[in-house]
């Protein structure tokens, strides 16, 4: 059996194997550029009216882009093996940052999600996303396909749970949902039995109900969820945002109102349009054609990450890539689902497009690691040769 398989495998020269993933880089570049344009188009009129420089917010985002690109290449230069070794440190630093932000928040007496670094404000909860993915990958890499023990699953929960609790104290509901989704996908990718996942799902639902009943969630978080269930009630200001967003998106039509021409976004009817609702500007200005193209680009990116996962040379690599695919897909689905009125407002940014440094940089960090995995991929697909599994 193994004889026939190895005979089928075509060995390729080293140089070809380590060629960068131009498709992934290309998509990141296109979406980043689109993000900068959209930030300019949505923030420009307001800034001009205030007497500031029209492009100032876009320029600010550009600095994050530069930092992100540097991070991407640093992450790519280190090999996947090195990253696996660094994972405990990454995880530890993240926990330290999360604890620090709570401390600072305590000091200034209010909810605090970021650490001021001068150039930009670091949001540890965003950094925590790739860190948790790395941590989970390292933990679950040791499991055997189809035989993930409950003890390992509980260890995984403990690994996610510590930062999750720290984030919950901030509080940041969106990030916790990301953790949940990514954990489930990574457990699945790691070979957890489907029955185990079903049981976990039931437990999660029970936990959520208890949390709401026990008033563990802040009132506005409950409002977002329940307000979403009665969308007709325009009076709820929480619904106002989404209704405005849908009106603007609807107004885009098939081909949009043209770049910089979105009436609703230009006139500031849509709130938070450079961050959470940036997709609204895309859909209004570029229409269904543009919006669907953006979703297609994300799809290809997710596909690339899944291909990286399938070609990774070890389980750590394939789990990191699957985790990143899950993270990107979840952000895209929840964010766009929110702007089109399918999902409640949770405050998750749209990768590459939303204004903000921490998430952009940490996303590129995660993708950089994934890219490193691609560079160091195996010629022979994982699991094809018995005994190669690590």
């Amino acid at each position: 059996m193994s004889q026939t398989i190895s005979a089928q495998v075509q060995l390729r020269p080293q140089i070809e194997r380590s060629r960068p993933d131009f498709v992934m880089i290309g998509i990141i570049a296109v979406l980043t550029a689109l993000g900068l344009l959209m930030i300019l188009s949505t923030s420009g009129p307001r800034l001009e009216a205030e007497g500031s420089v029209r492009a100032s917010q876009m320029i600010r985002q550009s600095t994050f882009v530069v930092l992100g690109v540097v991070t991407f290449f640093v992450a790519t230069i280190l090999s996947d093996r090195q990253w696996r070794l660094l994972t405990p440190w990454v995880y530890a630093v993240t926990l330290a940052l999360l604890a620090l932000v709570l401390g600072i928040g305590e000091l200034i007496g209010g909810a605090q999600r970021w650490i001021p670094l001068g150039l930009f404000n670091l949001q540890p909860s965003e950094v925590a996303k790739p860190a948790v993915i790395l941590g989970l990958a390292a933990l679950l890499a040791g499991a055997v396909e189809g035989q993930v023990k409950w003890s390992r699953i509980f260890k995984a929960f403990a690994l996610v749970g510590v930062p999750a609790i720290l984030i919950f104290l901030q509080p940041d509901l969106g990030t916790m949902l990301v953790f949940g989704f990514v954990t489930v996908v990574m457990l699945f990718a790691a070979g957890t039995d489907v029955r185990q996942i079903v049981i976990l799902g039931l437990v999660a639902i029970a936990a959520l109900i208890i949390a709401i009943e026990a008033d563990l969630l802040a009132e506005y978080q409950v409002d977002r969820l329940t307000g979403f269930l009665s969308p007709g009630e325009q009076t709820l200001s929480i619904n106002y945002n989404q209704i405005q967003s849908q009106i603007a998106i609807g107004g885009g039509g098939m081909f949009g109102q043209g770049l910089f021409e979105g009436t609703q976004t230009n006139l500031a009817f849509v709130p938070a349009q450079t961050t959470d609702f940036i997709f609204t500007a895309v859909a209004e200005q570029l229409g269904f054609a543009g919006a669907a193209t953006v979703i297609a680009l994300y799809s290809v990116l997710v596909l690339r990450l899944l291909i990286i996962a399938s070609t990774a040379r070890d389980r750590f690599g394939r789990l990191v890539a699957s985790g990143m695919a899950a993270m990107i897909a979840f952000h895209v689905f929840v964010n766009i689902g929110m702007t089109v009125g399918l999902l409640p407002v949770t405050g998750l940014p749209l990768p590459f497009l939303s204004f903000g440094g921490s998430f952009y940089i940490s996303t590129l960090f995660g993708l950089g690691v994934a890219h490193s995995i691609w560079i160091h991929r195996s010629r022979i697909p994982l699991g094809a040769v018995p005994g190669r599994a690590v």
Partner: protein, 667 residues
């Protein structure tokens, strides 16, 4: 290949989720695009209504302005453009600018409601407006705009006809074309022709952003000005009638004061009752009102700026200045009603019932209308009824009964009607005739608040007796005595001066009962006709041939025969050097005095009779009927007839004499 299927599963899940997003986008952007665009458009615009200038009101020649609209520069507050926390700051600044107490402005803000847009304060000067615009940061949401303002250049002249405008009440607000910031016609022509006068408001559609800040003008639809009303009022006659009526009322007041001094009345001056009067000049050929005056009058401008205080209004309302007595005043007509009975007697050849002792005397003259008045009418079971002239009027016929205003004659006519009821004619013969002549119901004049008056009959009497309204006696039924009261214009009979004018007009024009009108037509800004008020007859009575001429001759005798009750009042109708029998104009005037007894007087106010004169001219080809009533004026011949005489002199081109007392008639 276990791992492979897991990645495929993840990929499928992601593809499914993204697929849902694409479907949703298709629904929003392709299926529902129209609805979204519409909602989006409505959000991005702000519609501001522009008040249409109200149409003008002109005299019958379309030249003299009775009511008009001018643009005044005003401070306009738009609460939609004011942040809530800025309002107090704005109120304080406006208070300082306009010198209006802040509390008053605050109250105005509350009345107009959030989002209200309204002018505040009086007209401002150009320089005040500029200083507001220069310091606009102190006046958020304020604009300086020309706002239409109603003016009444003639002040009190024709005020009761023109009417006034004011803020809408709850009933007005039910109309779809009225909103809380509008001015609405309340009274007079302003009230009855409000819909044609108000025009169509214009609109400015602004582009706004999410904060409601105006970015530019999208569309501007100018307002359509209201139609201009051409009235039937001859302003020369109107002014003259008003002046003359005031003279008449003043004459009545002098007479009253003199009488009191004579009687050494203990009443002090301030306890004097308020004198009221009304006069109507109607065109008998088409029912047009040529002049209509009511005393006391008011200046309609006091309502335009909406600043008349409740107390001020109350004070004026107590003086009844807002009542148009020509159509709203109900008076017993007294002897002036005898003309109606006279016409009916001629039409149906009704002869008076004679007292037995005089039958022989009367038979000698072989005139079925002959009657002997000894000053006292005696009937079984009733106290004697007295003529106003002591000792009676002697032998009179139908014509002379009118000239001398012989009460007993008309009582006897009524008695005849009563006795022959249900035999020769229905019981309500007289009432039905009166109703055909416009009494007891509204004449249909195109002015609001017209009173119907009352022509009493058995049905009315029984209704009030059963319901114990206090208007009729508790015991006994409707009787001949009640009908006799009507025949002399007394009792419960009540009429408006306009009804009197319409009835006389019908009697002298050959039977056409006109629906009177004060508006001839309404035209738009391009002079196109919007509405024509075609003269319309409410009824046409077929009079016996010769009746109208006989009646006109009788009316002339009242003013022009030695026995006539208005003889003294009409003396010297022509210029001083022309004797009455050579005065051609005097042959062309006729009318009837009336002195209606007021039976019930309050403790404070002494009962003083209502003085009437209703007449027509020129008798050979009648054009005008003039009705004059002076409330508490005393004798009709003494006060009302001289007032009417002066009006007739003016109408017929004679030199008008001052109003001076005529003879005391009919007590």
């Amino acid at each position: 290949m276990n791992f492979g299927w897991r990645l495929v599963a993840i990929g499928t899940l992601v593809a499914g989720l993204f697929g849902i997003l694409v479907l949703r986008l298709w629904y929003l952007q392709v299926t529902e695009v129209e609805a979204s665009l519409e909602v989006a458009f409505e959000q991005r615009i702000r519609v501001v209504e522009i008040e249409a200038p109200r149409g003008d009101i002109f005299d019958n020649k379309g030249k003299e302005l009775l009511a008009g609209t001018v643009a005044t520069l005003r401070v306009v507050v738009d609460r939609k453009l004011i942040a809530f926390e800025e309002e107090e700051f704005l109120i304080q600044n406006l208070s300082a600018l306009l010198a209006i107490p802040a509390s008053e402005i605050r109250r105005e803000f509350e009345t107009r409601g959030p989002g209200g847009r309204f002018p505040l304060g009086d007209q401002i000067t150009q320089s005040t407006g500029i200083s507001v615009l220069e310091n606009i940061e102190d006046f958020p949401g304020v604009t300086i705009e020309p706002v239409p303002f109603r003016i009444y250049p003639l002040l009190e002249t024709a005020a009761h006809i023109v009417g006034y405008v004011g803020s809408p009440n709850d009933d007005d607000l039910e109309r779809t074309d009225i909103d809380i910031n509008d001015q609405v016609g309340k009274f007079g022509i302003e009230g009855s022709y409000d819909r044609l006068l108000r025009g169509t408001p214009g609109q400015i559609i602004y582009r706004v952003n999410a904060k409601g800040e105006i970015l530019g003008v999208l569309e501007e639809r100018p307002p359509k000005p209201g139609g201009s009303v051409i009235t039937t009022i001859d302003l020369d006659v109107q002014r003259f009638v008003e002046d003359t009526l005031i003279s008449g009322v003043l004459l009545a007041r002098q007479e009253e004061t003199a009488r009191r001094e004579e009687e050494q009345s203990a009443r002090r001056e301030e306890e004097q009752s308020i004198f009221r009067g009304a006069a109507v000049v109607i065109d008998v050929t088409d029912g047009s009102i040529i002049a209509m005056a009511s005393v006391p009058a008011f200046d309609p401008s006091i309502f335009s700026d909406g600043r008349l205080s409740q107390d001020e209004w109350q004070g004026l309302a107590e003086k009844a200045v807002f009542n148009n007595f020509a159509i709203q005043g109900l008076f017993p007509p007294g002897s002036s009603f005898k003309v109606i009975v006279n016409a009916l007697a001629r039409q149906r050849r009704i002869s008076p019932v004679l007292e037995a002792e005089y039958e022989e005397i009367v038979d000698q003259v072989a005139d079925p209308t002959a009657f002997f008045s000894d000053g006292e009418l005696l009937f079984p079971n009733t106290p004697p009824l007295n003529d106003w002239k002591d000792g009676g009027h002697g032998l009179v016929d139908l014509s002379e009964s009118l000239a001398q205003s012989v009460n007993s004659y008309y009582w006897s006519i009524a008695l005849r009607i009563w006795r022959q009821r249900d035999v020769d004619w229905p019981e309500n013969l007289l009432q039905d005739f009166a109703r055909r002549l416009s009494f007891g119901h509204r004449t249909g004049i195109d002015l609001p608040f017209e009173q119907p008056g009352l022509v009493p009959d058995r049905e009315w009497f029984q209704f009030n007796q059963q319901n114990q309204t206090g208007l009729v006696r508790k015991e006994g039924g409707w009787s001949g005595g009640d009908l006799m009261n009507i025949a002399t214009g007394q009792g419960a009979l009540s009429v408006t001066p306009l009804q009197m004018a319409v009835a006389y007009a019908a009697l002298v024009n050959g039977g056409t009962v006109w629906e009177p009108r004060v508006v001839d037509s309404v035209r738009d800004a391009e002079n196109n006709l919007l509405f024509t008020n075609v003269p319309s007859a409410a009824d046409k009575i077929d009079f016996r041939p010769g009746l109208v001429d006989e009646l006109k001759a009788d009316l002339n005798r009242v003013v022009n025969s030695e026995t006539g009750t208005a003889k003294k009042a009409f003396e010297g109708f022509c210029d001083d050097d022309v004797p009455d029998d050579e005065c051609a104009a005097l042959q062309e005037v006729g009318g009837k005095t009336g002195t209606a007894e007021i039976r019930q007087a309050t403790d404070r106010v002494e009962a003083i009779d209502t003085a009437w004169f209703v007449g027509a001219a020129p008798l050979s080809d009648p054009r005008w009927v003039v009705a004059v009533v002076i409330d508490q004026g005393g004798s009709g011949g003494r006060v009302a007839a001289p007032t009417a005489r002066r009006i007739f002199q003016f109408l017929m081109g004679e030199n008008p004499d001052p109003v001076r007392a005529g003879s005391e008639s009919e007590r």
